[in-house]
């Protein structure tokens, strides 16, 4: 039965979860605040971390959520990391889907989740995952049991304060779902969110996920995504970010069974003093398995962006294929983009490539468009639209609608009178 649960978690869960939070805080304390001396944080301007003057969390009305809903999707709303059933849509009748707080999972599953988190914390090296597990006590658990036709739209609202959220998505064998995860910092956007997303895909499961962050000059966002992919399963992940005062995404994928594949594509459109940092860690544990990464960054003004990607092909993961590309455009002399694509190959028979390019809009292309009557601003918009096209065309229709409504992509084509 489809379920969007609202009943309270049992006391046993609450106590165990609280104990896990204590462990997570201790782990965070042990790790200490990140510094650029750490490889995984080397490109991040961390001074922003201490500058957050968080506003107090506040009540959120349905009216504030409506602009972010997309027709044809099922909206599931989290406010400051907590599932809010009363603000969410009912699940479509017959959808092979369970949605609830983690504490409302069947006892065996809830216990397994706590054990998994506990094991992770023992070796956790990313402090933002610790923050999420420490304070994200009432997140979201999604279980997909079959083919879910209507996309799920997880709208993560941050109203203020320093918040955390956990989302777990468990895909049974042969299940499929499209998920859109939209981060919305509500005005005055003085807030921070640490989100931990776990994804486990069973055999032949398919996940098409779009993560959207519309951008904010003052908000901070840290996401950690850890995915495990089973035999012949597929994760197709697309991100579109406009940057924030401090934003970082760590995405890990473990291709743990033959035929598993992951396609990652991300676009960061950064302006003013915003920053966004993508860090990916892809592990081919067995072959054949496939990973493709296409990351694009456009930085204007004094924005700061980076891509730090590592693909590891472990011993025995023969016949694996890995492609990793990072392409960037610097639109201002004060903007900065760092790029570090890396391959670590320990198997003999693999196909792997990686590459990075950072440049400016081509003067020759601009001139060519101008020579056909297009004003400079329109020519630039057209070229920027062209630069993002291969990511834009990956989007599902609801994803396109969401991005279009909030003007999150460069216009393509730009109006003739621009």
């Amino acid at each position: 039965m489809p379920q969007l649960a609202g009943s309270p978690a049992p006391t046993s869960w609450s106590a165990a979860r609280a104990a896990l939070s204590v462990v997570a805080r201790e782990r965070a304390r042990a790790l200490g605040l990140p510094t650029t001396a750490l490889e995984d944080w080397r490109y991040v301007a961390l001074t922003a971390l201490s500058r957050l003057q968080a506003a107090a969390p506040r009540a959120v009305s349905r009216d504030e959520i409506i602009p972010w809903t997309v027709p044809g999707t099922t909206s599931v709303v989290l406010v400051d990391g907590q599932l809010r059933a009363e603000l969410s849509d009912p699940l479509p009748a017959g959808a092979p889907l369970i949605l609830c707080e983690p504490g409302q999972l069947p006892e065996a599953q809830a216990s397994a989740l706590l054990r998994r988190w506990s094991d992770r914390l023992a070796g956790e090296t990313d402090i933002s995952a610790c923050w999420a597990l420490a304070d994200g006590e009432r997140g979201l658990a999604v279980q997909v049991q079959g083919a879910v036709v209507q996309p799920l739209h997880l709208i993560s609202i941050t109203s203020g304060g320093v918040c955390a959220a956990t989302v777990t998505i468990t895909m049974q064998a042969n299940a499929s779902v499209t998920v859109i995860l939209t981060h919305v910092p509500l005005a005055p956007s003085r807030c921070s969110l640490a989100l931990d997303l776990e994804l486990a895909a069973g055999a032949q499961a398919t996940v098409d996920e779009l993560q959207v962050a519309p951008g904010s000059d003052t908000a901070q966002l840290f996401t950690v995504v850890r995915s495990q992919l089973g035999r012949d399963s597929r994760l197709r992940w697309t991100s579109v970010h406009r940057g924030c005062a401090l934003g970082r995404s760590r995405l890990e994928a473990l291709l743990g069974a033959p035929g598993a594949s992951v396609e990652l594509a991300a676009l960061s459109l950064l302006r003013a003093t915003s920053q966004w940092h993508d860090l990916t860690r892809i592990a081919h544990a067995v072959g054949p398995s496939t990973s493709q990464q296409l990351y694009k960054t456009i930085a204007d003004d004094a924005a700061l962006g980076s891509f730090d990607g590592l693909v590891s092909i472990r011993p025995g993961a023969d016949l694996s294929e890995a492609r990793q590309r990072h392409q960037s455009l610097l639109l201002s002399p004060k903007a900065r983009i760092d790029s570090r694509p890396q391959l670590d190959i320990a198997a003999d028979d693999v196909t792997a490539s990686h590459g990075s390019s950072i440049g400016q809009l081509s003067a020759d292309e601009l001139f060519y468009l101008q020579s056909r009557g297009l004003p400079v601003a329109q020519a630039r918009a057209l070229l920027l639209g062209g630069f993002v096209q291969d990511i834009a065309r990956r989007l599902s229709p609801p994803g396109q609608a969401l991005l279009a409504r909030h003007d999150l992509l460069p216009q393509h084509p730009a109006p003739a009178t621009a």
């Binding site: 060519y368 101008q370 020579s371 297009l374 057209l382 062209g386 291969d390 393509h412 084509p413 009178t417």
Partner: protein
Amino acid sequence: MAEPLLVIEHLSVNVESTPILKDLSLRVEHGEVAAIMGPNGSGKSTLSKVLAGHPSYQVVAGTIRVAGVDIAALSPEERARSGIFIGFQYPVEVPGVNNADFLRLALNARRTAQSLPELDAAGFAPFLRTAMERVEMDELYKDRQLNAGFSGGQKKRNEILQMVLLEPVLAVLDETDSGLDIDALRVVAHGINTFRSPQRGLVLITHYQRLLELVVPDSVHVLSGGRIVASGRKELALELEAKGYDWLDKR
């Protein structure tokens, strides 16, 4: 008597302080097809870039008037919208930009300058279809990315398509015949010939006589060392083909 369509007087142009064009003068009447020939490095492509308004080329002396208007102060887009079209020797590839979207924007820019209403995608479709038929271009190319992955011949054909679509008053085609096979040359020549009219002027920059067999020029000018060193009628092109450019130097 009306001024010629294109009047270039005593034009000198530098690229990074190196003089390329030196005191060049040229006139092209309405309805005239003028061929400009010359050896490699003589300044032919520089002339086309200067007419397009390329920022890397500095006009240090002289004037260029098109339809009586001094175009020195006009930006590249203003020149295009006023009806100047340059068919480039090496059209750039613009990945990610849909060819039809680009063509529509270009046509709308021109139409706006002519006080005509802009066309939406549906309104533009018949214009594009007709123009593509005229240059015998497969409709598949409208949905391709602008020049990206096009063969050399298809890029040139796409340039002629733009010329046909934009209906400029002055078209300058820079070595449009280079890289074309015989069939493509015939198609491109047909496109150029259908473009000819008493109101328009055409400047064909070429190394070879073969294009001029299909598009017969009214005048032929030889550019060498940054200046026009000889002018004549179509027979001059035949003489150059037979005797080579050295012949002019030895005269």
